[in-house]
Symmetry: C2
C-alpha cells in the first residue's frame, strides 16, 4: 500500500522484492472493496476522500515493536492492531466520526509484513474506518505510524479544556484491564484470556464518544496513560482541580493497575448533566457511565478519597 512515492523505495524482507509488488499484496490485505464513488484510496500520490462534514480532526501515533508491545509475548499482528486502535481512540476522545486511516510502516528485511498488516486491517475493520493509504520503508525497528482522520459535524469536537467546577467526572468502564492482561500474559496466560485480549486488542470507544458529544458533555479524553496521569492533564487543560470518590477497578485488575496501568482507552468525561449522558448512552445500547468524582475550582486540589493523588502513570516510566 502506498498512496505516496516520496523517498526512494527500499527492500523489504526475504529475497529482493520490488516495492510496487509488495505494495500490491499489502493493498489487497488492507484495502476496502467498496470504495465510495469519487474516492481514490491506494494507488495515487495522495488518497482522495469525499468532503468531510464539519471540522476535520487528525491525530498521529507510533507503535514500535519491542517498546510499545512485548515482542516475546505477543504476535506481530497485535502491534498493527494496537497502533491503529490507539490512534482511532484519539478520535473517540473528541466525539468524532472516524473517516480514514493512513499507515506508515518501517521494518527490517525479513519482517512478515503481511502478518503486521492483517492486524492493521483487523483494527480498521473493527472500527469501520478504511485504510486509504500508506508507506513502506526499510528501518531497523518494526514501527507503525498511524494517522487517523475524523469529522465532527454540528457543535464540533469535545476538548480537554472544557471542564468546569461542579462537573461530574465519569469513565465509560472499569479500569486496569489492559495492565492486568499484560501481567497475566507475563505469568503464562494464553493469548485468548479475556484480560490478555484487552491488552492485545484494545477497543476504541467511538460510539461512546459520539454519544457523549451528543449529550453535550464539557470535556473528554481517552485513558491511554492511566487515570492518575490523564485526569491531571484534563484538569491542567481546563484550569481546575478534582476530587475523586472512587476508582472502578475491573475484575481481575489491581487498584494500582486501574489507577495507572494505561491503555484501557475508556473515555474520561466531565459533564454537568450526568443523567442525560447516562440516558443517551443507554439509548444507544452502551454501558452506563461510572461517576468517579467531581471537578473543583481550586486547581491545586487533586484528591482521591480526600488524599492527594500524585501524577503518575506511563510518564513515570521515562
Amino acid at each position: 500500500m502506498n498512496a505516496t512515492d516520496g523517498p526512494p523505495g527500499v527492500p523489504l524482507g526475504g529475497p529482493v522484492r520490488r516495492e510496487d509488488d509488495i505494495v500490491e499484496r499489502i493493498a489487497a490485505i488492507v484495502g476496502r472493496r467498496d470504495i465510495p464513488p469519487g474516492e481514490v484510496h491506494v494507488g495515487d500520490d495522495a488518497a482522495v476522500l469525499a468532503p468531510f462534514v464539519g471540522q476535520t480532526l487528525v491525530s498521529t501515533d507510533t507503535a514500535v515493536w519491542g517498546i510499545h508491545l512485548d515482542a516475546a509475548l505477543f504476535p506481530l499482528e497485535d502491534l498493527g492492531f494496537k497502533a491503529v486502535a490507539a490512534a482511532v481512540s484519539d478520535l473517540a476522545a473528541m466525539g468524532a466520526r472516524a473517516r480514514a486511516i493512513v499507515v506508515a510502516v518501517t521494518a527490517p528485511p525479513g519482517t512478515d509484513l503481511e502478518e503486521l498488516h492483517r492486524g492493521i486491517a483487523d483494527a480498521a475493520s473493527a472500527t469501520d474506518c478504511p485504510i486509504v493509504g500508506g508507506d513502506l520503508s526499510l528501518g531497523r525497528d518494526v514501527a507503525v505510524a498511524v494517522t487517523v482522520l475524523g469529522e465532527c459535524p454540528g457543535k464540533g469536537a469535545v476538548l480537554r479544556r472544557g471542564a468546569r467546577a461542579g462537573d461530574t467526572i465519569l469513565v465509560t468502564g472499569p479500569l486496569g484491564r489492559s495492565a492486568a492482561g499484560l501481567r497475566l500474559r507475563r505469568a503464562g496466560a494464553g493469548l485468548d484470556h479475556p484480560l490478555v485480549i484487552a491488552h492485545r486488542r484494545p477497543w476504541p470507544r467511538l460510539a461512546e464518544g459520539l454519544a457523549a458529544r451528543g449529550a453535550g458533555v464539557h470535556a473528554m479524553m481517552d485513558l491511554s496513560d492511566g487515570l492518575a496521569l490523564d485526569l491531571h492533564r484534563l484538569c491542567d487543560a481546563s484550569g481546575v482541580g478534582f476530587a475523586l470518590h472512587d476508582v472502578p477497578v475491573a475484575d481481575g485488575a489491581s487498584d494500582d493497575e486501574a489507577l495507572s496501568g494505561g491503555e484501557d482507552y475508556e473515555l474520561l468525561i466531565a459533564t454537568d448533566d450526568p443523567a442525560r449522558l447516562a440516558l443517551v448512552l443507554h439509548g444507544r445500547g452502551l454501558r452506563p457511565p461510572l461517576a468517579i468524582g467531581r471537578i473543583v475550582t481550586n486547581r491545586a486540589t487533586r484528591t482521591l478519597r480526600g488524599e492527594h493523588l500524585e501524577r503518575r502513570g506511563w510518564q513515570h516510566s521515562l
Copy 2:
C-alpha cells in the same frame, strides 16, 4: 509535540526527560502562533481544523536517517525538511491546497530532536502549511513519518489515471538537480552549493499543481522516483503509452540523473491544452512548462527518441 497520547511515553535523549516537557519545547519550535479561531493544534487528543473545502486529501511518507538521507553528508535538520517536503509534494501532485501536517518521530536516546524539528518547521513554513500535531517515540532509527492533509475545491483532484492518447506530456522544470547535488556533495561540494541545496531542501510545486488543476490538465504526479519510473506508473494507471522526444537536463546534471535520479519533485503533467497550461503558469509568475513528449494509445509503447525506455529508477535500487 503530541496531539495524541496513544502508546506509553518513552525516554528521548540525554538525561531522563519527561515526555510532556520535551513535547512542550518541540511544540514551541514547530507550532504556529496564529492558530485560526476554532482550531486546536497541539495539546488535545487530536488536532481540530476548520472545515475543509471540497475533497479531503491525505498522504503519508517516512524518511529514515541513513536510508533516505546520508547521515555522514547532511545535517539532521535536512531529514526533517525532506520528509515534510516529500509529503507536501504529493499534495502538489493532485493540485491540492495543503492544509495541515502531522509528524510522528522515532529516535534513539541522545538525538537532537530540536535540530530535527527545526528542519520540519522550516519546510512547514516554506510550504505555508501548519504542523498541527505529532508524536514522539523511542526507536533505534531516527525516522520521520509525515502525514499531510489537503483540500481540493471545485472539480476535484487531478489523478494519475486521466492521461489520454494525444495528450502532451510536460514537466515543470529541468530534471536531475537532486541526484547531481548528491553526487557533488559526495565529491566534497559545500552544503550551500545550489545543486546540493536542491537535494537537501526540495521544493514542492504547490503553486504549479494548483495552476495546472485550474488549467484542466488530464493527469499529474510528482517526480519523486525519477522520470523513467514515474512516467511508466502514470501510463500504467491511465492505460496508455508514451513517446518522449526530449528529457530536459538541468545544468550540472547528467542525462542519467535527469532520467532516473529521483527526488526532483517537479510535476509530470498530461494535457490536451498545453498552451492554456503555459498561459496559466505564466499568469501566476511561474516558469513555463517543458513539453517532453506525447501520450499514445498503445500501452506497450514506451519510448524516448524512438528507443524503448526501460522502467528504472529508485525501485531498481531494491
